[in-house]
Amino acid sequence: MKAVRIFRDRALLIGVVIISCLVLVAVFAGPLSTYPDHVTGFDPNHRLTQPGWQFLLGTDRMGADIYSRLLFGARLTILISVIATATAVIIGVPIGLVAGYFDGWASEALMRISDIFLAVPQIVLAIAIAQTLGPSIQNVILALSATYWPFWARLVYAETRSQRNEIYVEAAKAMGASPLRIMALHILPNISGSIIVRTTIGMGATILAAASLGFLGLGAPPPAPEWGRMIAESREFLPKAWWYATAPGIAILMVVMGFNLMGDGLRDVLDPRLRRGGSDGK
């Protein structure tokens, strides 16, 4: 049933196609690239060359092929966003479950801590952390996961609160199930839809945040083919070298859009209440 729905929802379909392309590009960056050695190497003789047959998307300030760097940059993008988001989910979901299921000062404390994190814009906090720890990929991941988990904690907390008095929970309690069992085996599967949707959209936001950090010089140091950093480097040569910023810019746009469309579509599929009129399920 669900597989059919995926193809009926156009937004979801586009999202899935874009993300699949991203994954394929990341996996096959080697064979797809025209200058695989330009991840770290370059050719000063072809500095800032316009896009053409030799260099599909032009070259950068060192004379490295932007197309090849873009492909390898996809790996970095996936690496950063998957690890950062996964860490945030692993921290945020249990906190939300525990705080939502139990009452008491511990729950209150957990939620107030996440409120503190939510009160400061995520990117500002991430900049502060990345700046303190120094620019590197690990620190970007750390900064993003450290600032991102409260979103899941909040979401899971709210969902758990609405679920904990449902009849199936009461039934499980009556049968003597332990709180851990109820949370993990009964509540969690029932709220997994929202978590999946939030995570998908969160991936897009994480990519954008990672690119912002890279742009500010807090991401991977040169010569890492990080998309945000590539845009930052290009500023010095604008508007003449228009291709320099365009290629990574479009790449970021597409990927973030892909995750958002996919998240939107998944919500429609997984949550029947929000399903669009005209589609199935009515």
Binding site: F42, P44, R61, P135, P221, P222, E233, R235, L238
Partner: protein
């Protein structure tokens, strides 16, 4: 953008400032006719204290709001007597007696006396920041005397041939005003970081570290004023290169830094509203090598690095020939730079040969300056070269304000730092003794390089006053530094200035890069 926060100026000083600028009684029309000159700077003015600063990025503060005993002008740089009317040097070269010009006034109207000069020297020696390294070996605290209100006497520990030259960095502050704002014996460091107490051509009006500073012409300046001087000088912090260039093209800024990429310079040259100005500067670009950390104390390791850098690729291709190859640390146009000095070439076989002789090779780290693309690009160039000889090099980027404090901390300093050595005074000492004498560890010698012969020559060259004799010594130092591969010496920069058409004349001096606003003439 943040708004300027007006400084706490009391009504009396404000009125004095206005009357000095000839504003009182003028109508709005006259006000509008004031000549305003805006410089877009690529470096933040985080502090204003002239004794805590010693770089070119923030030199506008010192040049425009303060005066020193001597001053550098023109290209090639000439040393001018500035606050000094008469100078007496004892035959042994140790006692310098200066008579100050009469009626030099600070911005608050106080007359400058020799006590202000004494206070300024003691302040530099006490704060141990900024230009401290220039004076620390020759001037002891408490030895500078005010003989009478207009006579000041320096008694040096040893003869110091460049004393007159480095006095250009002894910026004289209004001692009464600074003392009034001292807190817990901090020599007013906190207050002067945000305020100004000078006598220079321009008096501070507004300051915000995030925006920059504005200063108004000080009519009562002792040196007087030429034709069509600038009335309002503004230095605005604009980090984005493209924004700076666009601002000059639109006339919003009158000029910006003189070291733009070739592509941006080409754009400016095509613009009919812009005048461009090219001059050979004396500012060498090189890699500091931290000799303190093994295996960089091994000459073979350093030679391997020197041979692994593609000089032509960097100078001619990456920088499109906007710079000139400089084989040694002393800039080619400067005396003391040996003619025909043989430098390193990009030769991977030789690099491999030297690397093979190094024991305990470890991955190296380059600390590149964020926001300075040339620094990052040079780091990438060296990294790529090293990769070809099987040497792993990691790059980290940090803002200059993070790197600068580490330069004087041998343990925390990076292995390699690509940066410029600008001219603070036009003497070979600026590039040799100051940077490579063992005495200057933690105070200028950021390489932690030590060679007894270099120390001896550098010390000797500061005692002898005959330039011809000194030239020979500095040429030898320059030669040794190359043989020792003390640093990776890459190029000498050219100044490419762009100014709006209404700028009638500028007076470029490599010390200050044409940021000395008093020499700029502008159409009304």
């Amino acid at each position: 953008m943040t708004k300027f926060v007006p400084l706490s100026i009391n009504r009396r000083t404000a009125l004095m400032g206005l009357s000095a600028a000839g504003l009182i009684g003028m109508n709005g029309e006259a006000l509008a006719a004031r000549r305003k000159f805006v410089t877009a700077n690529n470096n933040p003015y985080d502090i204003l204290d002239p004794h805590q600063l010693f770089d070119i990025g923030r030199i506008a503060v010192r040049l425009n709001m303060y005066d020193a005993l001597t001053r550098w002008v023109d290209n090639p740089p000439k040393l001018q007597m500035w606050l000094v009317e008469k100078a007496d040097i004892s035959p042994d070269g140790k006692v310098y007696t200066f008579t100050l010009k009469p009626n030099v006034k600070f911005h608050d109207g106080t007359v400058m006396t020799s006590a202000d000069v004494v206070y300024s020297m003691e302040r530099i020696l006490a704060l141990k920041k900024g230009a401290y390294g220039l004076f620390k070996d020759v001037v002891e605290p408490g030895t500078t005397k005010a003989l009478d209100p207009r006579t000041v006497q320096f008694t040096l520990k040893a003869p110091f041939a460049v004393f007159m030259a480095v006095l250009s960095e002894l910026w004289v502050v209004n001692s009464a005003l600074v003392k009034k704002n001292e807190k817990n014996g901090d020599w007013g460091a906190d207050w002067l970081s945000k305020n100004e107490a000078g006598s220079g051509g321009y008096a501070l009006r507004r300051y915000d570290p995030a925006v920059g500073f504005q200063a108004a012409r000080f009519e009562g300046h002792f040196a007087g004023w030429g034709k069509n001087p600038i009335d309002d000088a503004e230095f605005r912090v604009v980090m984005e290169t493209a924004t700076r260039v666009l601002g000059v093209m639109k006339g919003e800024f009158n000029t910006t830094d003189g070291y733009l990429p070739a592509e941006q310079m080409a754009r400016m040259k095509e613009n009919p509203n812009i005048k461009t100005w090219e001059a050979e500067s004396i500012r060498t670009f090189y890699f500091i090598i931290n000799h303190w950390k093994a295996p960089l104390n091994d000459v073979n390791m350093r030679k391997a690095l020197c041979y692994a850098f593609d000089y032509d690729g960097f100078n001619d291709k990456i920088l499109s020939g906007t710079v000139v190859r400089n084989n040694g640390i002393i800039p080619n146009p400067m005396w003391g730079a040996p003619k025909g000095l043989k430098g390193y070439t990009y030769d991977l076989d030789k690099a491999k040969y030297h690397l093979a002789q190094v024991k305990n090779v470890r991955p190296l780290q380059i600390g590149a300056m964020a926001g300075y693309p040339q620094s990052e690009q040079a780091a990438q160039m060296l990294q790529a070269g090293c990769a070809k000889i099987g040497l792993e090099v990691k790059i980290v980027t940090e803002p200059y304000t993070t790197i600068a404090p580490k330069l004087n901390d041998r343990e925390r300093a990076h292995d390699l730092i690509p940066l410029w050595r600008s001219a603070y005074f036009a003497d070979p000492h600026n590039w040799t003794g100051f940077l490579f004498n063992t005495k200057n560890f933690d105070a200028g010698n950021a390489s932690y390089y030590s060679n007894p012969r270099v120390d001896e020559l550098c010390d000797q060259a500061l005692i002898v006053t005959d330039q011809e004799k000194r030239r020979v010594m500095y040429e030898e130092v320059s030669q040794i530094l190359v043989e020792d591969a003390a640093g990776i010496f890459i190029n000498n920069t050219k100044f490419h200035g762009a100014f709006t058409k209404n700028t009638k004349s500028i007076r470029f001096c490599p010390i200050g890069d044409a940021q000395d606003v008093r020499w700029i003439e502008m159409e009304g």
